[in-house]
Symmetry: C3
Amino acid sequence: MPLLKFDLIEGRDEQEITALLDAAHRAVLAAFKVPQRDRYQIVTEHKPYHFMIQDTGLNIERTRSLVVLTVVTSPRSTESKQAFYAELTRELEESCGIAPSDVIVSIVGNTTADWSFGNGVAQYVTGEL
Amino acid sequence: MPLLKFDLIEGRDEQEITALLDAAHRAVLAAFKVPQRDRYQIVTEHKPYHFMIQDTGLNIERTRSLVVLTVVTSPRSTESKQAFYAELTRELEESCGIAPSDVIVSIVGNTTADWSFGNGVAQYVTGEL
Amino acid sequence: MPLLKFDLIEGRDEQEITALLDAAHRAVLAAFKVPQRDRYQIVTEHKPYHFMIQDTGLNIERTRSLVVLTVVTSPRSTESKQAFYAELTRELEESCGIAPSDVIVSIVGNTTADWSFGNGVAQYVTGEL
């Protein structure tokens, strides 16, 4: 936890995907202060015409490097979410050359009973986490 | 915002996908009264056996044109959600020939701090939106 | 409702996917006490390097049989969620040979107005369900 799902336009190779996921995880660690191995990331690649991403009138230009990230997480403060957005775009630009204008994030919240990390138990409820 | 994710059975071409996304966006505009460019849509196509969609006993028949739509949005009233379901099925039937019985929607709510539309900031928090 | 989205590493055939979905639905029926045909399941298969799934330090080993399940549902008790995790791992192990250590679940909640199962209406609001 958190669980990160990345929707990308197809065309990146394994090395590029791995670099992107590594960069995003560094942002998670910095902003959310989770354990190093609290890493749950899934990528889905799409044909270009499977994406229709605009900007709500913000005048933000998108390219084919676009990253749409959906995060499921237990509650976090507004400040830590803002820190995550800033860290994520910084990391993705530095490590992957992705422009901050190409990074969209949507967060959805849940609670401790909503997670099982394996073995059929809710580790935040049992006290294992 | 909202973010719309469409899960479809594979087989539509680019023109059909585009028509579907255009129709759905008209429903978003009509029901949720968002700005014209408040458009965030992603499609994933699946093999037929990757879908197992029934009807909770409602006697609704499904075909391979099935559309399963997941929406992430800031809070909206029950009335606007109902308007969206009605508009969406009307639009998809008129523009794409998709039967209302083939349209399933699930909405998940979040809040203003949960969105970044680019540039590493939370535009609803900063006041840009 | 609930809506279950399964993310898997590619390589299973139709029979294996069907067995997995059947097993998961038995766990839904047992833990959440929903009607038999309250079944909404979607699978997405991914390249191995599209997954980066660790264990938050729990010492849980992952294999390529890994199942990451995201559930969207109306509110359920902690007890029924815990029953679901236990039933799901039991079913997947018995019917599909998937180790409990390979099953990760994340639940997200919504409410009655957030569902339309077809025909452009919110069946939990109209009283049809």
